[in-house]
């Protein structure tokens, strides 16, 4: 059975008094359990909208979506939102934000603290754990948001440009970290990126979306061997995939 099944899904926003805006048009996808899938597409093309539908926090206006055979909203989803300022809790400290999903899951407090501290340690934020969320830098906030998603121990990990505020070396470090955890846990991961190299480097398959309204332009399987290494970024195979993706946006 497909872990995620998206069948001819469409989404149209109806603004009061405005023109209806068709954002997703006839999207069909199949995603297997344990797959690492990246989404690549222009700004405003509907990536976030599609992920919201898969997470069950927005409804499609056409077609059918199934996650583990059920309508979206049933599976345990760890969602790293693009807008971390509005998805995290400024009234809590860094560690309290990471503890939130553990409270929801009723994990005992010493164990929860251990889990949260471990996660923060891995992203190098342990010394900042007592800072309030608004006292962190943009990149640090993003790392806390990622920790929160992991702390929930989700079946489906959705990351909407989770590294957009991170510096170069932190991004590379987080990519490797993400792949390591993925290798261990094999959690199905959906990942939006505006960086072609990143989108290819991480993925089992990359879904390329068109401009508004978003259609699936192409789904490319990435056959680079795992574990991925940064040196692969300069191989012929990598370069060929990169060219293929970029060429799709050349004559637009």
């Amino acid at each position: 059975m497909d872990f995620i099944k998206v069948d001819r899904v469409g989404k149209t926003f109806h603004k009061q008094g405005g023109q209806p805006l068709c954002v997703l048009d006839d999207i069909s996808l199949r995603i297997q359990k344990g797959e690492f899938v990246t989404f690549f597409g222009p700004n405003g093309s509907g990536k976030t909208t599609l992920l919201n539908i898969l997470a069950g926090i927005e409804l499609s206006t056409m077609g059918m979506v199934r996650v583990e055979g059920k309508p979206p909203g049933h599976a345990k989803v760890g969602f790293v939102f693009q807008n971390y300022n509005e998805s995290m809790m400024p009234w809590r400290t860094a560690i309290e934000n990471v503890l939130f999903p553990l409270e929801i899951l009723h994990v005992s407090s010493p164990q929860a603290t251990r889990i949260a501290e471990n996660l923060l340690k891995k992203v190098g934020l342990l010394e900042h754990k007592e800072k309030y969320f608004y006292e962190l830098s943009g990149g640090q906030k993003q790392l806390v948001a990622i920790c929160r998603a992991y702390a929930y121990n989700p079946d489906l990990l959705i990351m909407d440009e989770p590294f957009s505020s991170l510096d170069y070396s932190t991004t590379r470090k987080m990519e490797m970290y993400l792949l390591n955890i993925w290798k261990e846990t094999k959690k199905t991961t959906l990942f939006v990126s505006h960086d072609v190299d990143e989108a290819i480097f991480l993925a089992d398959k990359i879904i390329v979306l068109s401009r508004l309204p978003a259609r699936v332009k192409e789904i490319i399987s990435i056959n680079l061997p795992r574990p991925r290494k940064l040196s692969m970024l300069s191989t012929q195979a990598f370069f060929r995939i990169r060219q293929k993706v970029l060429r799709m946006f050349e004559n637009e």
């Binding site: 926090i57 989803v77 969602f79 995290m88 009234w91 409270e103 929801i104 969320f133």
Partner: protein, 250 residues
Amino acid sequence: MNRKRLLPFIVPISILLFWSIITHFHFVSKLFVPTPIEFVSALLLLVFSGEIIGHVLATLYRTLAGFLVACIIGIPIGLLMGYSNRIYSSLEFVVEFFRSIPATALFPLFLLVFGIGDESKIALSAWSAGLVLIVNAMYGVHLGKELRLKAAKTMHVSGLDTMTKIIFPEALPQIFTGMRVAISLSLIIVVVAEMFVGTTYGLGRQIMDAQLVYRVGEMYSYIFAAGIVGFILNKGFMQIEHRIVHWKGK
């Protein structure tokens, strides 16, 4: 630097000067405005005889009691109205309508229902402060970020946890704004209500009594005391507010 420190004093000192001049040269009748000296001596007499203290405490007690009742009832209602469209739709008209009635117009009714003792005054101030808190708590929820609720939904957060761990803190800055307005309003209502029947202690009563017998020095002293109470309550709240909702605007 030093000049800036002086800024808050310029206007009060000017008022004091103006006051001294108009009373000294009898521009206004002594029946309406005492001289600053008369005022201060009346005030000091009331303070050092201890007479004013009972009145301040009585007014303060009614104000705080009304305010507390308002918080306990008003904040949960406001949060629920902000959270649930169905509750909002069923209560919105009633709340807006009651808010439009000047609270003091209801005082005779409250006297009938609660009697002429403390209860009617406390109930009336709770009524008007409560309505302010309902509206502010509701706005607080509406001003909150929808994305935080969506994030909670992805984690299957229960209704109760959503309320206590997300919606309540989300609305807290606006609730505090409402509390500051509500406590000032509560004081106003209590002082006005005290001017009517059934009170021996209370600033409103004393202001009224002093006025009836033209003891203007005393009257101004009690007015001043009411002002001080309001000022301290407001400032005190601001202090707590900064400490508790430290994330406000960040």
